[in-house]
Each structure stands twice: as structure tokens, then as C-alpha cells.
Amino acid sequence: MSEHVSPSLYQQIGGAAAVDAAVDIFYRKVLSDDRVSHFFDDVDMDRQAAKQKAFLTMAFGGPHNYTGADMRRGHAHLVLRGLNDGHVDVIIELLGATLAELNVPQPLIAQVAAIAESTRGDVLNR
């Protein structure tokens, strides 16, 4: 078999190593941004770091086991606290800024944003 398999988005970005490089940058942006930081106030940092990794892996098109139902459950308590479209926009913006800082090319950033975008309905429990 000589079928040519083009590298996945996840591989093109750099896989697990890229997630590791991105996690501190992204999390610092989230915690410093007054528009969204309050959602993360009472999440302890150990657990949060693991969840940020899960989030980034998912957004980078990497391997994960989350279903739409998981995303609904995982954010339902945040929706009750007022999570809305504007917050999802901010997270996608910070994700893009993180990748730009890591010199990821713009077309790949657009693909990542599209993956995050595709979860919007579930995250907002619509």
C-alpha cells in the first residue's frame, strides 16, 4: 500500500509537545483576561492544568475521548453563571493569540478556531 496520508492538523502543529508549549501561555492569557478569568477563579491549578491540556489537545485536532454530551456537562455550571457567546469568542481569540505567539502559521490557526467553533453549541448547552 502506498497510500499517501497527509499529516493531521494535530501533527502539523506539533502534537503533544505543542500542547505542552501552549498550555502555560494559554492559561496565563485566560487568567489575566478580565472578560473570562472569573470562570476560573475557584478551579485549582493542578486540575486546571490537566483540563487546559485536554482543551488544547481537542482544539488542535488531537486524540481525545470527549463527546458533545461531555462538553455540555462540563460547562453546564458555567452557563448557569452566565457563560455566553462573547466568552466563547474570547477563548477562541486567546487560543489564536497563543498559537501566533508560538509561530504557528495562520491557516492552521484558522483550522483550530474552526474546531473550537464547532463545539460552541455544546459548550453553551444549546
Binding site: D24, Y27, L31, D44, M45, A49
Partner: protein, 332 residues
């Protein structure tokens, strides 16, 4: 509903219930304190691995492999047979000496007859003969003859009042552990270290700082100790002498109230840190003590540029509720 088998008896688990809550509800005296997976007092052993991973965070690999887990963190989805840890993970120790470090902090010295390997700064679970268990951090160095703990008196506190008021010198207790990641790792002697603690959060830091110096650390070691008032600080003279002997050790004390005299800084610890260390990128940090302060500080240190992997923290989580004294002897 799954059931838990303990000492040959089956107990049905209520929906969402942890192994710890189920056993406590049915009258089994399982040692416990934080009910939050932090203190490791509730260590138990499962006869078979039934998805224990989620309840094994922070346990040593050797314990994981043998089926040990934290009873407060396991919500069983299948039947499981469990037992309390025996001699293989518990070490007997004698309380050799108790002396006051200030009005509210007692130094507790313990002697073990068997080897008890640990890194200074890790914590252990101190288990009284009736099963009451609380975690304390190690301020001593392994070559010293006694283990050293610093215990703050909590009014009405089951373990701390016992140690402070009943003077149990000579009594035998059990030690479980050690556990935790707050310790010095040799290999980067030039790395700048930041040690921040409030109250008895000094205990692990005192161990870590002395360990680092003993292992030839040459990079700067910044130790910040905070308390509500200057009276809450302790080991001041020892630390001043240490920093006089070691040019790379910088020792700063701060109090939220009544500071500003005798070299005690006035105000919040993180303001003191920022004033002295405007650039924190590249530091390794250890943060110990009051849980609210530990959590807010580690976030601030992270935002100030310290990598999340380079921040080691022990939040001294209190017991989840005033615990009634267990009725039956839990360690045999």
C-alpha cells in the same frame, strides 16, 4: 448498587458515595481528615484493581501497584473488597520531645526505629493509636536522629490540642507516608529558588532550605515567611543565623498586621515578593500553608512568569468537619 466488602461484611454504596463515606456511615473507623484527596490519611487497599486510578493521585508507584487508593476519592462503580493499611505502610514512632516555637506552634520530635526514608518538605500522616489521623510536613533532614514537625494549635482541634495540651511525650504513634512533591531536587545548583509560606507552612520550607544548602545549592534561595501578626512568626533567630552563614539565603518576614518593626515587613506576602523580585521567570517555587493563600499565591506566581511545572505547593487543608473520635482502634 455496588457493594464494599470490609472485614468480610458487605456494605451497599449509595449513589455517588465515596468508599470513605460509605464505611464511616456504617460505623467503620477509617482514619481521615481533608476528604479532598490531599492529606492521604484515608489510605486503603483494594483486593483487585477496579478502576482505582482516579483515587490514586499523588500516591507512590509502589503503592499504586499494590492497589492502595484514597478512600475519600473513590466512588466505586463495581463491587470492591477493601482493607485498612497494615504494618507494611505504617511505621511506629515515639514522640521524643515537644517544645514551643512560639505561642501557638509546637515542635514535635519523633523517633522511628525502622528506616523511614523521606525528602525534607514532604508530609506524613500522623496516626494516633485510636485512629485519629492528620498530616504534617517534615522540617528535619534525614540524617538527623529525630523527625521534626511544626504543629499549630487549632482551638478545639483534635490532634493539635492533644499534642499541645496533653504533652504526649513518650507515646507511640503511627506514621504513614511520606508523600508530596514539595522537596529539593538536586541537579540544578544555580537555579533561583523561591520559598513562600504562612504560619506552619514554614515547616516544609525550613526542611527544603536546609536540604538545598546541605546539598551545595549555590543559586539564590529566597525565603518569605508570613503570618497574621509578628507573634505568628518563629525560628527567626535560626533563619537569621542561617542567612548570615549563607550569602545566597535571603530571609524575609512579613506580617499582615503590626508589621513594620524589628525587620518584619508590613503587608501582603505577594507584595513583599514583588518588591524584591520583580522578575520571577526562571525561578522554582515552593508554596506551603494556608489553603486560600497557597492557591492565590501560586496563581500570582504563575502569572508573574514562573512555569506551572516549576511551582510546587502544599495547601494545608483542614479536616472536613470536626471529626468525632473514632470508636474502635484502627491501627493494629
Amino acid at each position: 448498587m455496588p457493594s464494599i466488602t470490609f472485614e468480610g461484611q458487605d456494605r451497599e454504596v449509595l449513589p455517588g458515595e465515596t468508599v470513605l463515606d460509605c464505611l464511616l456511615r456504617s460505623g467503620v473507623a477509617v482514619p481521615h481528615s481533608c476528604k479532598a484527596g490531599a492529606c492521604q490519611s484515608c489510605l486503603m487497599k483494594a483486593e483487585a484493581n477496579v478502576g482505582l486510578e482516579s483515587a490514586q493521585a499523588g500516591l507512590k508507584d509502589t503503592l499504586r501497584a499494590q492497589g492502595y487508593f484514597l478512600a475519600c476519592s473513590l466512588r466505586p462503580s463495581a463491587d470492591v473488597a477493601v482493607s485498612l493499611p497494615g504494618g507494611e505502610v505504617r511505621t511506629a514512632a515515639r514522640i521524643t520531645r515537644l517544645d514551643s516555637l512560639n505561642e501557638t506552634v509546637l515542635r514535635v520530635r519523633l523517633r522511628v526505629e525502622e528506616p523511614f526514608p523521606y525528602y525534607p518538605g514532604q508530609f506524613l500522616s500522623l496516626v494516633r493509636s485510636d485512629g485519629l489521623a492528620r498530616s504534617y510536613s517534615l522540617a528535619s533532614l534525614p540524617h538527623e536522629s529525630d523527625l521534626e514537625l511544626h504543629v499549630r494549635r487549632i482551638p478545639g482541634g483534635a490532634m493539635s490540642e492533644w499534642l499541645h495540651s496533653d504533652s504526649p511525650e513518650g507515646e507511640t504513634v503511627w506514621l504513614q507516608g511520606p508523600a508530596g512533591n514539595c522537596f529539593y531536587v538536586p541537579g540544578s545548583p544555580e537555579e533561583p529558588l523561591l520559598l513562600v509560606g504562612t504560619g506552619t507552612g514554614l515547616a516544609p520550607l525550613y526542611g527544603i532550605a536546609r536540604d538545598a544548602l546541605a546539598q551545595g545549592h549555590t543559586g539564590p534561595i529566597w525565603m518569605f515567611h508570613g503570618a497574621l501578626t509578628p507573634a505568628g512568626l518563629y525560628l527567626t533567630r535560626e533563619l537569621q543565623e542561617m542567612s548570615a552563614r549563607h550569602a545566597n539565603l535571603h530571609y524575609v518576614r512579613a506580617a499582615l498586621r503590626d508589621g513594620g518593626v524589628d525587620g518584619v515587613e508590613d503587608g501582603e506576602l505577594d507584595a513583599c515578593i514583588r518588591a524584591r523580585l520583580p522578575k520571577l521567570a526562571g525561578f522554582k517555587a515552593y508554596v506551603c500553608g494556608d489553603p486560600a493563600l497557597v492557591n492565590s499565591l501560586r496563581k500570582k506566581l504563575f502569572l508573574a512568569g514562573i512555569a506551572s511545572k516549576a511551582i510546587y505547593a502544599d495547601a494545608f487543608l483542614p479536616s472536613s468537619s470536626p471529626s468525632p473520635l473514632p470508636q474502635s482502634a484502627a491501627c493494629t
